[in-house]
C-alpha cells in the first residue's frame, strides 16, 4: 500500500515502542464487526458522531494518555481542540454555543472519547454538566455571559458540591453564603473538585437558608486561580446576579445536573471497558503458554465471553437511561442511578479482569490496561457513590405511593 502510515504488525509483548500504538492498532485491527461493536443499533448520524469522537480519541488523546497520567497534566490545548469540534457543550442549546444533541448522542460520544483517555473524558463530561446547569437554570444574562466561552472551552468549569465534612450526605453541606447588599459572602471549603485550580468558572452549591436541601443555593463564580485542589472560601464575595435559579433551588439544580452526569461517567466506564476487552482479546491471540495461544484455553474463552456480555449489558442499560432522561420519563432519575451503579461496577471488573489476563505484563505501566483499571475505579465513587445509588433505587422502590 502506498499510504505512508506505519502499520505495525501484531503487538509485541514487552515492547516499549509506543504502547499507545498497541492500543490504537488493536482497536481498529479486526475491522469485522463483533458483538461488542459500540456502533450497533445507532442511527447513521449517531455513527458519524461516534466516528469523530473515536478518531479524535485515537489521534489526539491515546498517544498522550500515559504522559498525562504520569505527569498529572491537564491538557488544555487538546481540550480546546475537542471543544472546537462541539464537545464542550454537547447537550447545551445551540443559541449559546452548544451542540444541542440528545443524552444518548452524548453517551455515545463520551464512550468513544474515553477509549483515548478516561480521566480527561471524565473531566470533559463534568465540564459539560456545569454548562448544562447554567444553560438550563440560568437567566438570559447568565446564559449569555457564561455559556459561549464554556462551550468553546475558552473557560473551564468545575462542579463544587462535596466538602471535607459532607460527601454522600451532600445535603448537610456547610459552606455558607450570607446576603450582604448585592453580594453573597461565602465561607467554607470544597474538596475533591475535578479540575479545581485549573478551571475558571465554579458552580458552587452553598447554604443560603436553613438546614437540609431546601436551604442550599447555587452560585456561579469566576476565580483567579492558584493551583489548589481544595477550594477555600474566606469572606468571598459573589454578585447576587450570579445566583442560578432562586434561593433554595440549589440542591435540586445539583441533583438534576448529576442525573446526566451519572450517565456521562457511566459512558466513560463503558469506553474503558471496551478498550480493555479489545486489549485482552488481542493479548489472548498472541500470548503462548503450555504450547498454544491463551485463546485456546477454555477458562479464558469463557471469561472473555462473560466480560463481553457484561459490557454489552452495561451499554444497553446506559443508553436506555439516556433515552429515558431525554424523554423526561418519570423513572429517569432512578434509571440513571441504576445505570451508573451497574455500569461502573461491571466495567471496573471488566478492566480488572482484562489486566489479570495480561499476567505480570498487565501490571507494567508500559501497558495501557492498568491505566484503564485505575481510571475506571474512581467512577464507582464520584458523582454519588454506588452506595448512594442503591439508596436512590431503594427509596424509589419502598416509597409510599
Amino acid at each position: 500500500m502506498a499510504v505512508s502510515l506505519a502499520l505495525s504488525g501484531v503487538a509485541r509483548l514487552g515492547s516499549r515502542i509506543g504502547r499507545s500504538h498497541q492500543l490504537i492498532r488493536s482497536i481498529h485491527k479486526r475491522g469485522v464487526s463483533s458483538c461488542i461493536d459500540p456502533s450497533h443499533g445507532l442511527s447513521e448520524e449517531q455513527k458519524e458522531f461516534q466516528k469523530v469522537a473515536f478518531d479524535f480519541a485515537t489521534n489526539e488523546m491515546a498517544p498522550h494518555m500515559a504522559e498525562w497520567d504520569q505527569k498529572e497534566i491537564f491538557p488544555v490545548e487538546v481540550l480546546r481542540r475537542a471543544a472546537q469540534l462541539g464537545f464542550g457543550g454537547i447537550y447545551v442549546q445551540p443559541d449559546v454555543g452548544g451542540s444541542g444533541l440528545s443524552r444518548l448522542d452524548t453517551s455515545v460520544i463520551f464512550e468513544a472519547l474515553s477509549t483515548g483517555c478516561v480521566s480527561t473524558t471524565a473531566y470533559i463530561s463534568i465540564h459539560n454538566m456545569c454548562v448544562w446547569m447554567i444553560d438550563t437554570f440560568g437567566n438570559t444574562e447568565q446564559r449569555e455571559k457564561f455559556c459561549p466561552d464554556l462551550c468553546l472551552m475558552e473557560k473551564f468549569a468545575s462542579y463544587c458540591l462535596t466538602e471535607p465534612g459532607s460527601g454522600s450526605d451532600a445535603a448537610s453541606l456547610t459552606t455558607s453564603a450570607q446576603l450582604k447588599g448585592d453580594h453573597y459572602i461565602l465561607n467554607g471549603s470544597k474538596a475533591f473538585i475535578s479540575g479545581g485550580g485549573d478551571t475558571d468558572v465554579y458552580v458552587v452549591m452553598c447554604r443560603t437558608g436553613g438546614k437540609g436541601p431546601k436551604g442550599i443555593s447555587c452560585l456561579v463564580m469566576g476565580w483567579n486561580s492558584q493551583p489548589t485542589r481544595a477550594l477555600i472560601f474566606e469572606d468571598c464575595a459573589v454578585p447576587v446576579a450570579n445566583l442560578l435559579g432562586v434561593e433554595g433551588q440549589g440542591f435540586n439544580i445539583a441533583m438534576r445536573g448529576l442525573n446526566g452526569g451519572r450517565i456521562n461517567i457511566a459512558s466513560c466506564s463503558l469506553g474503558a471497558a471496551q478498550a480493555s476487552v479489545q486489549l485482552a482479546r488481542d493479548h489472548l491471540l498472541v500470548r503462548k503458554q503450555f504450547g498454544e495461544t491463551l485463546s485456546n484455553n477454555q477458562f479464558l474463552q469463557f471469561k472473555l465471553a462473560e466480560m463481553a456480555t457484561k459490557l454489552v449489558a452495561s451499554r444497553l442499560f446506559v443508553r436506555q437511561a439516556a433515552t429515558a432522561l431525554q424523554e423526561n420519563r418519570s423513572d429517569a432519575a432512578t434509571l440513571c442511578a441504576m445505570a451508573k451503579l451497574f455500569a461502573t461496577d461491571e466495567c471496573f471488573n471488566i478492566c480488572n479482569q482484562a489486566l489479570q489476563m495480561h499476567g505480570g505484563y498487565g501490571y507494567l505501566k508500559d501497558y495501557a490496561v492498568q491505566q484503564f483499571v485505575r481510571d475506571s475505579r474512581v467512577h464507582q465513587i464520584l458523582e454519588g457513590t454506588n452506595e448512594v445509588m442503591r439508596m436512590i433505587v431503594s427509596r424509589n422502590l419502598l416509597s409510599e405511593i
Binding site: V3, R25, G31, E48, F49, K51, D55, L85, F87, S99
Partner: protein
C-alpha cells in the same frame, strides 16, 4: 469561471483493517468489514473546502460512484464542508468490476455537466492502488493535470502546483479548468464538527445513473484470481562471503 470544484471520493476498506481474501479467490472480503473514505480523497475534500473558505471558489460538489453505501462517504464529505453531493448509482454486481476507466468517463461527463473549474481527486485509492483515474479524467477532458500535488495555489485562471516526484519537488503552472490529484502532504484533513454533521443532513445528494451520463460500464478487464502475498520463507545462514556468493550463483541470481 464557474467557481465550482468537483471532488471525487471513494469508499474503501478502512486502512487499519486486516484484509482477508475470499475463499473462492475472486476478491477480498468486504461484508461486515469496516469501510471509510479513502485517505487521499479526504485530503482532496479538505483542499477544496479550504479554497472555499478562502473565497477562491464558490461551491464544492462531491461525487462518488457505487451502491447505496457510498452515500455514507458522501455525507462525511458534506460534514467536512462540501456543499452538495452526487451519487452515481452503480449496482453492487457491476461495482465489483468498476475501474478507473469507467470512473474517469463518469467524472469527465459530470465535470462538463457541472461546468467545473477544477476536478480534485485523491492520487490513488488504497484498495486498487491504480493511480490512473485522475490522469484518465484529464485526458478524456483534454484538460491539463497537476498530479501528486503537495501544494496548490490558484493564480487567476491558472493553478500553480508543486508536485512530489521521484527526484524531489516539481513546480508547474497549468491553465484551468484542470484536474488535480492530492498527495499525502497537501494538507491535514479536518475532523467533522458535531454542528457540521447535523448540517450535512440537510445538504442535497442527487442520484444519477451512468447511462444518463452516456457512460457504458462494461469492463475491459477480468480479474482471474486474487491471492494473499506468499508467506515469508525462512532465510538461510551462511558462514563466509564465498558461501554467500556460491549460494547466489546456485539460485541463478548472479
Amino acid at each position: 469561471m464557474s467557481g465550482r470544484v468537483l471532488v471525487g471520493v471513494k469508499r474503501v476498506i478502512d486502512y487499519a483493517v486486516k484484509i482477508r481474501v475470499k475463499p473462492d479467490h475472486s476478491g477480498v472480503v468486504t461484508e461486515g468489514v469496516k469501510h471509510s473514505m479513502n485517505p487521499f480523497c479526504e485530503i482532496a475534500v479538505e483542499e477544496a473546502v479550504k479554497m472555499k473558505e478562502k473565497k477562491l471558489i464558490k461551491e464544492v460538489v462531491v461525487v462518488s460512484c457505487g451502491p447505496q453505501q457510498v452515500q455514507e462517504t458522501i455525507r462525511t464529505a458534506l460534514a467536512m464542508g462540501a456543499d452538495r453531493g452526487i451519487h452515481v448509482e452503480v449496482p453492487a454486481k457491476e461495482y465489483e468490476s468498476l475501474g478507473p476507466l469507467q470512473v474517469s468517463k463518469i467524472l469527465a461527463a459530470l465535470a462538463k455537466k457541472e461546468e467545473a473549474q477544477l476536478v480534485i481527486l485523491g492520487k490513488q485509492a488504497i484498495d486498487g492502488d491504480c493511480n490512473q483515474t485522475g490522469q484518465m479524467t484529464a485526458a478524456l477532458l483534454d484538460w491539463p493535470q497537476g498530479t501528486f500535488a503537495s501544494e496548490v495555489t490558484l493564480e487567476g485562471d491558472k493553478v500553480k502546483v508543486v508536485r512530489e516526484i521521484d527526484g524531489g519537488l516539481e513546480t508547474i503552472k497549468i491553465n484551468t479548468p484542470a484536474v488535480l490529484t492530492a498527495d499525502l502532504r497537501l494538507n491535514t484533513p479536518r475532523y467533522a464538527t458535531l454542528p457540521n454533521i447535523m448540517k450535512a443532513k440537510k445538504k442535497k445528494i442527487a442520484n444519477v445513473k451512468p447511462a444518463d451520463l452516456g457512460v457504458d460500464l462494461t469492463s475491459r478487464l477480468e480479474v482471474l484470481r486474487v491471492d494473499e502475498p506468499p508467506q515469508r520463507q525462512a532465510g538461510v545462514k551462511v558462514e563466509t562471503v564465498d558461501d554467500l556468493v556460491g549460494k547466489l550463483r546456485e539460485a541463478g541470481r548472479i
